[in-house]
Symmetry: C2
Subunit: 267 residues, 2 copies
């Protein structure tokens, strides 16, 4: 493998001169070479040419493929690594980021125990409460870039830490990419949900945006989280995106924050 390159960017067969690439800015806006390379790498990632966890070709190989210097692909990779799409490992290679790895396991979960760190309380116990197929209401369809009424999957689950139910969340997924997802498959899977999305559905979540509010517990949430109705809870509304800012998940979580807090770094 890895010898059959995709076509559109390959140089003409007889090309021999290491001329500074056949990539040229069309006309209006100036775009540096390394940005164009970045887009090409992104396309390969999106097309699944290299899967999460796998190594991408070495800098030298990519430089040869794109007919640019190593420094130029280096800069492209640097940016992709800064965006957490790629991971560089000195002496080994550059790898496609994945949620299946120990270190990046709960990259998007910002709830921390008030004392101690994440590891101190062990893995969360997960319970799938519900999983059904339905027509997307307008407020779910819009952020998923679907039309109202298109098929979506909705699932609800509860996460407990050391026996205390702490998070209840509803997740909405577009029906197409996630066709075949069931409560059973979710329950059977060991590891983060986003890792399952990668391995079973080829969907890698790259980034997300959250809107956070304080709300009063309604009857259902209160009973699931075993708190009094009206108790303050953290409401976390997330939209998660794959490559190229394609939205792939809407999630609304309610967090108990009596023994945990949402941690955020500003800079």
């Amino acid at each position: 493998m890895a010898t059959t390159f995709f076509l559109s960017t390959d140089a003409p067969v007889g090309a021999s001169e290491p001329e500074p690439s056949g990539l040229v800015t069309p006309t209006p806006a100036f775009s540096p070479l390394y940005q164009q390379i970045k887009v090409l790498i992104l396309k390969s990632l999106q097309a699944g040419e290299w899967k999460p966890g796998e190594p991408i070709p070495s800098e030298m190989e990519l430089a040869a493929r794109f007919r640019v210097s190593q420094g130029t692909v280096r800069k492209a990779i640097d940016e992709l690594a800064a965006e957490n799409l790629l991971i560089r490992r000195q002496g080994k290679g550059t790898f496609v980021a994945t949620h299946a790895e120990q270190h990046l396991q709960y990259r998007f979960l910002r709830l921390m125990p008030d004392s101690g760190d994440v590891t101190s309380e062990g893995p969360a116990e997960r319970r799938i409460v519900d999983c059904k197929r339905l027509r997307a209401p307008a407020d779910i369809a819009r952020p998923l870039a679907l039309r109202t009424g298109e098929a979506v999957l909705q699932l609800r689950r509860v996460l407990a830490f050391q026996g205390t139910p702490t998070i209840v969340e509803d997740v909405w997924l577009p029906g197409g990419p996630f066709k075949g997802l069931t409560a059973e498959r979710l329950a059977a899977y060991r590891g983060p949900m986003y890792a399952l999305f990668e391995t079973e559905f080829g969907v890698h979540m790259v980034r997300a945006e959250e809107k956070i509010r304080a709300v009063a517990a309604d009857a259902v949430s209160a009973s699931l989280l075993r708190v009094a109705q009206g108790e303050p809870l953290l409401s976390v509304e997330r939209v998660a995106y794959t490559y190229n800012d394609v939205p792939m998940e809407v999630r609304r979580g309610l967090y108990r924050t009596d023994t945990h807090h949402y941690k955020n770094a500003l800079s």
Copy 2:
């Protein structure tokens, strides 16, 4: 100005050879040259050699000063710019970041109106409720790296958007660096509080960490924010740091989130 360099890093007077710098890794851990340059620039920033808003010397000048190539100082500056300590402006120079600028004005305020953006509701109305000098209780002293009982300033203020009081926050500052801060000076100042800290006290906040919880409004907060007692509010505990991770502020804010939300990006 800008011809008198600081001493410890200047090369010996008679040096003529452009040898690859006099900076050498002491012994145990390997530290690349550009990291050492980064530390030196950081020291100059901390020492106030260049003030917020001012330009730092050009890459060429710094390269000459440190006896390294332009590419090496470039990489150092790149990292500092990525950390929002410096701002690069093509054709103009590299500048020390400041909270006094329009674009970076409310860099640390993540509360957004549910509809529209920050600019749509105009500037917040600010009201200083209280400002007093007191001995630091243990839970304030610790994060400020002070001893319990040392002098701190505490101030409380209310921020209102379009007439609706939305944020009430208590701020604690170390008494030393902020000696002379009064409610009057705060009230008189136009612009963000962190901009005042820079110009009046030479303290530039570089980063911060926040712990977010949902809490019920107590009597005092409820009346200040004009909500019912027990209403859910977002509690935001912030510790803010200057250069070199020196803590300089503890802040506890209570946010109404009925028309606003706390926005966060995950990646």
